[in-house]
Structures are given as C-alpha cells and as structure tokens.
Symmetry: C2
C-alpha cells in the first residue's frame, strides 16, 4: 500500500489509474470500515482510502484533540484489506490556510445530528468536496451508519454535478444487533449488554409500520420512552424519508428511522431503512 | 464548433480531450469576451466556452428576465474566435432541482460589489464550481474587469483544491480608456463622452500612489468627489490588496483600485492594478 501525505504526491500516484474507488475516514478504524474497504474493491480497480481527522466538523463542545489517533494500526488493517493507496494528509497539507470557502448544505444540516452538532455537516461537506477534488474518484463509499452524512454527501455530489457515484454501504452489526462504532469501546460491560436495545427499538418501528401503523409521532414517542425507561438519554428518534430526511409526506414510501441516544457516557447513533407498501 | 446543452452530451464530447481551457460567460458577448477566447486558445488544445444566464447570481433588484439573450450572434462570434465546444445548458439542464448546496465565500462577498448585489458572489461561486465539475478544465480564464469575481473564483479554486489554473485576462478598453462592457450600450452620446473619466480617475490614483501618496482614504474620497462633480453617482472607489481585496496593511505592495459608479442609467465598474515600490 502506497501512503501519501502531500496533495501533489497523491495526484502523481493516481495519474492514469483507472476506476478509482474512494473511502474517506477519520481513522480509528473498526471492522465496519474494513468491510467498506473490501466492498470498495468490488466497485473498481484502484481503492484509495484517506485518514484525516477533520477539525472543521468538530463542534465547539467536541474535543478534536482527544479524537483517537491510531495510525499504525489503521495502516495495517487497510493494507490487509487490500487498499492500494492511502492518502493521509497533515492539517498543513489539507488546510494550509484557514478554510474560508465552504460548502453550505441546506437546512437539514441543522436538524437531527446537526441540531446537536452545530456546523458539523458544513465541515463534513467541505472536507469531502476537497478530498473528492484531490482524489477525483469515479465512486465513493460511505457507511449507512452515518445516514445523514451519506444523504448530505449524495445530494451535494448530485447538486454540484460531480462526476462521482456515491454508494451507501450497509451498517455492520454485532451478533446482537449493535451497530459497530468506535464509541462502543466506551461502554461498560452492563451498558454493552443494554446497548442492542437501540437497534431493537428501530426494528420495532419498522415492524409497526409494516403492520399498518401510520402515526409516526406516536411511534417516535414510544421509542424514546422505552429507551429512557432503560437508562438512555435520547436526543431523537425520528422517522424521515430517505431522499432528504424531511418529514414524510403522504405518498412517501422510502423511509428511514434515525436515532441518537446516550447510554452512560457514549452517545450512540443508529438507523434503519424501511419501505411502506404501495 | 460543437454545441451541447446537456451535461452527459458535453461530457461525452470532452472525453479524452487534452488540455481543456474553459471560458464561462453569460452570453451577450462583446470584443472583451472574444479577446478572452483568443487568449484561451494559447493556453491549451481544446477551448470550451459556456453561455448560461445564471439566475442564482441575480439579486432581488436585478432583472433576470431582461438580461439580453443574443444566442445566435454569440455563436457566430465564438465560432469565428476558434472556440471548439460551446456548452449552452438550459436552466433545466443546470438546475433540474432548486440549488440547495451552495458555495459560501467569506465576508468579502458582502463588500464592494457584494454590498450592492446581495447573494451575487455566492451565486457566481456556486455556478462556476458546478461548471468546473462538468467541464473539468485544466485552465479557466476570467476577465480582470470583474476583479472581485476573479479574486473569489481564484481563491475558491485554490481552497477547494480544484486541479484548475485560474488565469486573469487584462481588461479590453476603447481607445479613450473606457473598459468594454455590454452596459456601455446604454450610455447616451453625452454620457459616452464622459464615461472614460472613470478609468482616468483610477489612473490618477495609481499615479498619486507612485508619487508617494499613502493616504488612501483621501485618494478614494477625492476620486468619488471628482466623479460626482461630473454627474456620476458613485457606489465606491476603494484601494485594496489584490490577493483578497482586504484593506491594505503596511507592507502590502500588490494593490488594486476598484470603482463602481452610475452615469445616467448604467452602472459602470472598472479597476486598475498597481504596485507600491519596495
């Protein structure tokens, strides 16, 4: 695996490469990321990963400096997963000057995750656009675990006419249903036992909708109540349409339920897509 | 000259073309635009022009519908100037849905021209980024006449790591110094006689600075006073540094003086770069 920190060196390395598939990360990789890398391999000839902890997407209450950096272990995993080229810029490589030109996503950036992480999606959109311009992939993969991020990047890519196909990759889960996340490592053993409730609650909403329940607000309230009755502190459980995460309107059938809730210290997020019958 | 309206058709036409030079326009072409096209020819192998009247960059007080559309005459001029490919999308081609993802330039977007044209530079930056993503040129040319636009697009391109070289092209002037502009056509014969004063006033500031004058505020006030004494209504005359159009700080040597002023109905803009001695 080639590793490049500088933009010109990466550009030279990628010159003439066909069918580039790109998977951006912030490092601190777990099995979910590695599944993304293996999936990337099936979409093209050259798999490029990036590791960059993006200061722009950290909110005022989020600790950029304490974000785990595990570069050597990450490299070993990427190499084993068959990644061809790793782009690992320093902050000076990617932000040699204050980033004044940013992508401004629409109002959804301030809802759901955005309500609790002001400026987060503006920072995500800006760094991913910049990485896209550097790597110039034909395809980019993002996990569905960060569903709102995937939606925003897919819509940004389409609306800015970037010649890139965005692929959403299914969330990797533990056997008990818990979505893999680096944050799971912060759970106590008792919390780890309780944690799969989040995915069960989401599955319950999908089942209720399949059984004909259309009072989504009631389903959302019941889900929050169940979580909070078991020691969670929930930020939201929200049923939205997949395309833009707006509140479903009559006729919308492609839906997703998204949730964020704290169990002890860590804040876990999860989501589940579902379809309403025609 | 090939003409394409659809994005996929243009992409197909440009596939495999080497060294693409791009000159975006809103049509209604005059000799200044044509000079840009001939200059483009010297920078690469394939000269691509675009004509698109961009609704996003029109302010609430600016009449999008009344902007002159002279497509047939424009095509004839582009063809004669040796343009290889014209991209002329309809609004549905370029904005098939409301443009929700936009580039947000920094505060300078609300100064100088931006003070009088709210949202203008956000609209310019967004459409040019989108055109860049469609055409994917190696080089793009913009006239220095719209100096603030050139500065914003140059800085956007660098900050978003687009692999595109931005070239600023010298303003084309009539023999008496008046910068060419489609707006000159709206001047009465008397106004047309008076109009070159704008460039003379700017040249006077350059000379005063060369002669050692460093009280820029005084020079700006005197320039506005002279114009307004001759029937102009001036929006601004401002000495700024070239790189980001901020107020010069001690040590800044690469400067530009920019002006916007109404003479009768039309609002004319002009600018002049100059250097301070070390």
């Amino acid at each position: 695996m080639e590793i490049h920190a500088s933009i010109p060196a990466l550009r030279t390395a990628l010159k003439g490469r066909s069918r580039i598939v790109f998977v951006p990360t912030m490092g601190n990789l777990h099995a979910g990321h590695i599944t993304l890398m293996r999936e990337a391999r099936q979409h093209g000839d050259t798999v490029v990963a990036s590791i960059f902890v993006n200061r722009l997407q950290f909110g005022p209450n989020e600790d950029f400096d304490k974000y785990p950096r595990t570069f050597a272990a990450d490299c070993a995993q990427l190499e084993a997963a068959g990644v061809d080229v790793l782009f690992a810029p320093t902050e000076t490589d990617l932000y040699p000057e204050p980033q004044q030109y940013q992508v401004d996503p629409p109002g959804i950036q301030n809802q759901l995750e955005g309500e609790f992480r002001p400026g987060h999606f503006r920072g995500v959109a800006t760094v991913v656009l910049k990485l896209f311009n550097i790597v110039q992939p034909q395809i980019a993969l993002f996990g569905k675990k960060d569903y709102q991020q995937l939606m925003i990047l897919r819509n940004m890519t389409r609306q800015l006419a970037l010649p890139i196909e965005i692929v959403g990759s299914d969330t990797v889960r533990a056997d008990d249903g818990l979505a893999l996340s680096s944050r799971n490592g912060y759970l106590t053993p008792d919390e780890r036992q309780e944690a799969p409730r989040l995915s069960r609650v989401l599955a319950g909403i999908r089942e209720a909708a399949a059984a004909g329940e259309r009072d989504f607000a009631k389903l959302e309230r019941a889900a929050v109540a169940e979580l909070n009755a078991h020691g969670w502190r929930s930020d939201y459980v929200a049923i939205r349409r997949q395309s833009d995460l707006q509140t479903p309107e009559p006729g919308d059938r492609e839906l997703v339920v998204l949730a964020a809730s704290r169990l002890g210290t860590p804040r876990l997020i999860d989501n589940l897509e579902f379809q309403l019958p025609a």
